[in-house]
């Protein structure tokens, strides 16, 4: 049951309509940042209020919601957002990627390929991929309108001349359907290839910066790169210490006070499902 002291999914109907209209325009113009009037939410901005507002506008009581924070379901942030929607929208929640109809995420795309019955909602801190080149919103808006993305390429190329490769490893910029350059939120660039041609709908919400953008399913997404330095979706060159996966994104964690460390899947559900299926890494108990 929902708590009757709240509106359904917390937001009032007029606010949800405004967000819903922005989402539809976002879908119609993939990669373009639609301005919206972000509302105060009962959580700090760093907690993904943009994603929370998008989820609130999308959820129905029939949904099953999963919330991940850097791949994990059990962080304070993920747990509190899950509890928030259990109470205000009466939705079921899950930690299993395959059981979720809506997944709100901070900084990861689940390892399990998503399906056409799912919606992935990203929490976005800085939606503007050109912000570090140009702090003025009026200017970046003009740059997008004129497809002035040359500076972006210059910055990436400087990275190469300095480091021998493109050092940007999170929030790696992408171009959508040959038109808009978009910030995929601070996902590791390992996740970038999953952005394109995905069966699920992808929605991005930035609360503080008041922007919503979207990728319809099966949208063409290209990570910016150069002929002599092609894009590489890198990850730590180890198998997962717990489930032995070689295809998942890994976090390096310290396991004792003597500095011992191991590499484990950042996607906790993926790792747990593999362990349950009998896969065992070298550090598994």
């Amino acid at each position: 049951m929902t708590d009757q002291a709240y509106n359904f999914a917390y937001l009032d109907e007029q606010t949800k309509r405004m967000i819903r209209r922005a989402i539809l325009k976002g879908l119609a113009i993939p990669g373009y940042q639609v301005p919206f009037a972000s509302r105060e939410m009962p959580m700090p901005y760093g907690w993904g209020t943009g994603g929370v507002q998008v989820s609130a506008a999308v959820l129905t009581p029939d949904d099953t919601l999963k919330v991940i924070d850097q791949g994990a379901d059990d962080t304070t942030n993920a747990v509190s957002i899950r509890t928030f929607f259990e109470r205000t929208a009466g939705v079921k929640t899950t930690t299993r990627t395959t059981d979720a109809s809506v997944i709100q995420t901070r900084h990861r795309i689940p390892e399990e390929p998503l399906t056409d019955n799912q919606i992935l909602v990203y929490q976005v801190p800085i939606p503007e991929p050109l912000r570090f080149l140009e702090p003025r919103e009026s200017e970046t808006r003009k740059m997008h309108s004129l497809e002035e993305y040359g500076l972006m390429h210059v910055k990436l190329y400087e990275d190469i001349s300095r480091h021998g490769h493109i050092a940007t490893s999170y929030a790696y910029p992408v171009k959508i359907e040959g038109r808009y350059v978009m910030d995929p939120s601070p996902i590791p660039k390992f996740d970038n290839p999953k952005l394109g041609d995905m069966a699920a709908i992808q929605l991005f919400g930035a609360g503080r910066e008041q922007r919503i953008y979207a990728l319809p399913p099966y949208t063409q997404v290209v990570s910016l790169d150069f002929e002599d330095h092609p894009f590489e979706a890198s990850k730590a060159d180890h198998p997962c210490g717990l489930c032995d996966a070689t295809d998942s994104y890994l976090d390096e964690v310290i396991i004792d006070d003597t500095g011992g460390r191991m590499f484990v899947c950042s996607d906790t559900d993926y790792c747990a499902a593999r362990q349950a299926a009998g896969f065992k890494g070298k550090d598994a108990a």
């Binding site: 999914a9 819903r20 209209r21 325009k25 113009i29 999308v58 129905t60 997008h144 359907e177 319809p216």
Partner: protein, 196 residues
């Protein structure tokens, strides 16, 4: 005030509009797919699906243009009572509703600006016959290609050519909807050559 004006809204607005929006979201995200939406009983000539889309998306912030037969006292009163949306002409509307032939010409509607392409109209084309032979669609939201009944070809090709500017369409008929965003590329269906 007529009883018809007061009736026909959502009984449980928050939940019904959430379900209706989900249908609209899926339709706009996957051009060519047809969804059921329900919960509204608008006055004639609006279809239930078109009424449902209006209740879900329109309010005092969205000027609405009623085209042709949709511009009647019953619809005006119903829309005003349930949404508060101000009525306007095509050039300033956020939403337009009517039959395809009444909505034309498309050049009358705002297609957005280069810096704000989202400031463009969404046209709700009512009275759609989803069984008609389909145009071929390609683009975002579509794996390979899809087909969809469209009332024309060139009008939608011209609209797509404006991208990222352009109009977005919601097709309604009975309790069903489909959508066509400006991003979709359209070609005529392969013509069937009659052999005698």
């Amino acid at each position: 005030m007529q009883a018809e004006t007061l009736a026909g809204g959502f009984d449980t607005p928050a939940v019904q509009s959430a379900h209706a929006f989900r249908g609209l979201l899926e339709a706009m995200a996957r051009p060519g797919t047809v969804r059921q939406i329900g919960g509204a009983a608008p006055p004639r000539p609006l279809s239930p699906a078109a009424g449902c889309a209006l209740l879900t998306l329109c309010d005092t912030d969205t000027p609405v243009y009623l085209a042709g037969g949709a511009d009647c006292d019953a619809v005006r009163a119903w829309l005003a009572f349930h949404t508060g949306a101000p009525l306007t002409g095509p050039s300033h509307c956020a939403f337009a509703i009517g039959r395809w032939e009444d909505l034309l010409p498309l050049s009358a509607y705002p297609t957005g600006t280069s810096e704000y392409p989202d400031r463009s109209a969404t046209l709700i084309v009512d009275g759609t016959d989803f069984a008609k032979p389909g145009a071929v669609l390609r683009g975002p939201g579509i794996s390979g290609q899809a087909t969809m009944a469209l009332p024309g070809i060139k009008a939608f090709q011209d609209n797509n050519a404006l991208f990222p500017l352009g109009l977005d369409f919601i097709f309604a008929g009975g309790s069903r909807i489909a959508a066509l965003p400006r991003s979709t590329k359209i070609t005529a269906p392969a013509t069937v050559t009659e052999v005698f």
